[in-house]
Amino acid sequence: MNARVVIIIGAVLLSFGAQRCNGQEVSRSSAWTRTTISGQGQPKGYVQFENYCSMCHGPGPGQPGTMALQAKYKGAEPALLADRTDLNGAVIKAYVRNGISIMPIFRKTEISDANLDLIAEYLTRNNKK
């Protein structure tokens, strides 16, 4: 076993050790969802959209984003962002970073640039080329 392997094993053990507190597993995740979202079989960016957008822009009752887009387009465009085929990635990013109506600004410690890129990719996946 060379020194490099020992260091890697040491680092793995250390990170495992850091993941327990009072004998309990420590969880570390950040998402505005009620359950952990699986991305299996889903398009790229689905998990990030679900994690950061779906509690306002998802289906079902009490979704402020969906309600606002329904009021704005009155059915001319889908109220569900994930069903749209006309969104522009740059505009999505501008809304997330500047806010729009009741939707506030989102900081990079909440939604990283990398995750925002994935969200934009997901929401433009069905656009006509």
Binding site: C21, W32, R34, M55, G62, I102, K108, T109
Partner: protein, 525 residues
């Protein structure tokens, strides 16, 4: 690069270099593009020069990194403004009160350190949101409830430190906390309660430890950076039942609230509800006219004709199915005996846990310990934000009627709202009511100026009547602290003495709740 007040460009650059090496270059934000993300999305100063804009933001990931940031800030006298998840929308969001403060953003510290479903408590870091804690519990199928406030993306720690409220029996969030870890303004680390015992086994079970109880001084304050906090959780109840009581006459409010207070204070009812008038919000033109100019008698007649009642309160009951059914029966007997014409209606009932299918059908699941963002539909689809006027008033019918009338006169004199029952009354906290009144924020300078004027008038009027706000937007913290003025502002002077002793360089959250460091304090204030 913007500069914090009183810090030279050379010093700020040197500090930034030190901060970058302490917490990582990626987590020190200084470009306008990055720092503008910390603006208050619902600022009542939108498009005005008065809007406080930060100079930078620092996002540490560990307690040691928080200590390093605080020590560097002390060396260079950089004012910091601490946020947890930064979602305190309606109360300042992630923006500082003092223009040019650097935001200490704790969102990355998002570890759920422990959830105990036998003794029913949790230990979390500041960046954990209600969604994160809920998900941790749900993914592990633990039979405990959290108590979210309306917006679920906020921090249990941040909300409790701001003394926010929720809807279940654990609704008073500061009251439900147990144990803190705090970085003091000089970078020293302390643990409160049993946490001061290095081998503590009951940090989240017994609050007080030994000696003076210090936790209160870290709530609504600028005396430390809380980096861990424990909370008591509710064991998942068996069932829920709500029943509403409606009474026909204006003066029935007095016995209605008296019995309600008795039920609350005896523990028969344990959760948050609101006392409303069915006459308050309907846009029926006849009713709008009666609200503006009719007598109490006219409104009673209208309520009688329409069969809607003058006042109503819905009682939320949580617990074993048979027990809550008996509590509802008991409550009905009490109201019936005291108020002729009182009527009762059974509301929703649930058994827990809720299935996923049930959950998707419930518009507002917050009273069942389930976080949501549904509240942001408030104000309609064109809303651009809001803030809240929230005075504490006595839990009596007389006080409710007086407050409605006093605040309505202020609002009407400024042409703002009409109606005599439009200030919603809640029992987020034991023993008193709190009014939570919605102020829209718009990207319109004149409208926002007007709102601020009305807000300040309401604060003054409330204080004249003995009512003070429990919490407020950063824009009004000074005004409200100014109203808590017993004995020539002796409480504020006491806060200032403590502030000067713990934070002589004034680096933590200048101006928070009206408390300024010595160097920025107005002479003779």
């Amino acid at each position: 690069m913007r500069l914090p007040p009183g810090v030279s460009a050379g010093d700020f650059s040197a500090a930034i270099k030190e901060l970058e090496s302490a917490i990582g270059k990626e987590w020190v934000f200084t470009s306008d593009e990055d720092v503008n993300l910390y603006r208050d999305s619902y600022s009542p100063f939108w498009h005005e020069n008065q809007e406080p804009i930060p100079s930078a933001a620092f996002a540490p990931d560990s307690v040691e990194q928080v200590q390093a940031v605080v020590r560097i800030a002390n060396r260079y006298k950089i004012p910091l403004w601490t946020i947890s998840t930064g979602k305190n929308l309606g109360y300042g969001g992630s923006a500082p009160l003092l223009n040019g403060s650097a935001v200490l953003d704790l969102k990355r510290m998002n570890r759920v350190l422990e959830v105990n479903d036998k003794n029913h408590y949790a230990l979390v870091e500041p960046g954990v949101s209600y969604f994160d804690l809920y998900r941790h519990i749900r993914d592990r199928d633990l039979p405990v409830w959290i108590d979210p406030p309306d917006p679920g993306w906020g921090s249990p720690m941040g909300n409790a430190l701001e003394r926010g409220g929720g809807y279940t029996p654990m609704r008073d969030h500061f009251d439900a906390h147990c144990g803190m870890e705090v970085v003091l303004p000089d970078g020293e680390l302390v643990r409160t309660g049993m946490g001061a015992l290095p081998t503590a086994k009951t940090w989240q079970q017994y609050r007080y430890g030994f000696g003076p109880y210090m936790d209160g001084m870290f709530s609504q304050s600028n005396l430390g950076v809380v980096t861990k906090m424990g909370f008591w959780l509710q064991p998942q109840p068996d069932a829920y039942l709500s029943g509403s009581v409606t009474v026909p006459k204006h003066d029935d409010l007095t016995p209605l609230v008296e019995i309600f207070a008795n039920l609350m204070n005896s523990g028969v009812v344990q959760a948050t509800t609101t006392v409303v008038s069915p006459l308050a919000y309907s846009r029926d033109p006849e009713l709008v006219k009666l609200r503006a100019s009719g007598s109490t008698r006219d409104l009673e007649d209208y309520a009688g004709q329409k069969g809607i009642g003058y006042w109503s309160v819905s009682l939320p009951l949580y617990g074993p199915e048979k027990v809550i059914a008996a509590q509802w029966e008991y409550a009905k007997q009490k109201f019936s005996a005291a108020i002729p014409g009182a009527t009762f209606r059974d509301g929703a009932s649930y058994k827990f846990p809720l299935t996923e299918e049930q959950l998707t059908k419930i518009v507002n699941p917050v009273p069942f310990g389930v976080p949501s963002l549904q509240t942001f539909s408030i104000g309609g689809p064109k809303s651009q934000g809001h803030m809240w006027f929230s005075p504490i008033i006595p839990m009596t019918g007389e006080a409710v009627i007086e407050a409605q009338s006093v605040f309505d006169k202020v609002a009407q004199s400024l042409g703002y709202v009409t109606g005599t029952t439009g200030f919603p009354i809640w029992n987020f906290f034991a023993r008193a009511f709190v009014i939570i009144y919605f102020f829209p924020i718009e990207h319109d300078i004149e409208k926002n100026r007007r709102s601020r004027e009305i807000f300040r008038r309401l604060i003054k009027t409330a204080a004249e009547h003995g009512w003070g706000e429990y919490r407020t937007h950063t824009a009004f913290m000074g005004d409200i602290m100014d109203a808590y003025s017993f004995n020539n502002h002796s409480l504020l002077r006491f806060h200032e003495t403590v502030k000067d002793a713990l934070d002589p360089n004034g680096i933590l959250s200048a101006g928070k709740n009206g408390i300024w460091p010595k160097s920025m304090r107005k002479a003779g204030a």
